[in-house]
Symmetry: C2
Amino acid sequence: MPETPLIEDRCRPLRGPQHRLDATQILALLKQLDGWEIDQERLHREFRFADYRSTMLFVNAVAWLAERENHHPDLEVGYSRVKVAYSTHDVGGLSHNDFICAAKIGALTSI
Amino acid sequence: MPETPLIEDRCRPLRGPQHRLDATQILALLKQLDGWEIDQERLHREFRFADYRSTMLFVNAVAWLAERENHHPDLEVGYSRVKVAYSTHDVGGLSHNDFICAAKIGALTSI
């Protein structure tokens, strides 16, 4: 049975180290994303905008998605840039949920 | 002539190293703030909230103030915390504007 594409998938409650992805799984999922990088078991990407209002509107779109999926990234917000970083505290590393949300955030900027 | 209290003051365009505050000025202004700290010429404070929606509503209040004063902090946003950090790129360090905005952000949480 083929896996659900990340963009069509939904986050599920994941708790415990059995849901922590290993390096092989992480690299396979990373190939499905555009512009995201891994650093110290955090999946991150920087987005740039023309002005502060555009930046903050993006932050709010990310927050809406975070609430809907009940999976919340760390954000670093400057005047014209937002760094979005995902990891899953409840699994002690990266989970499938991080990649689902990253795919959806990426899609926000292309829809 | 007494200085305008930070909370009643407004940011003005400041450019050039002559507007960079020295250590004595910084310490005098810091005494007028509650909960803010200085680290590597950045004025910062962490705010904590009960949930993500409260966190994001605060982020938006900060953004509104940032636009009004045309002085924009760096933000680190987690599920229940926001770190607000000010410095003034155009002066190469801390300026009076950083302290004005810090005072106003602090007031947001007490009004």
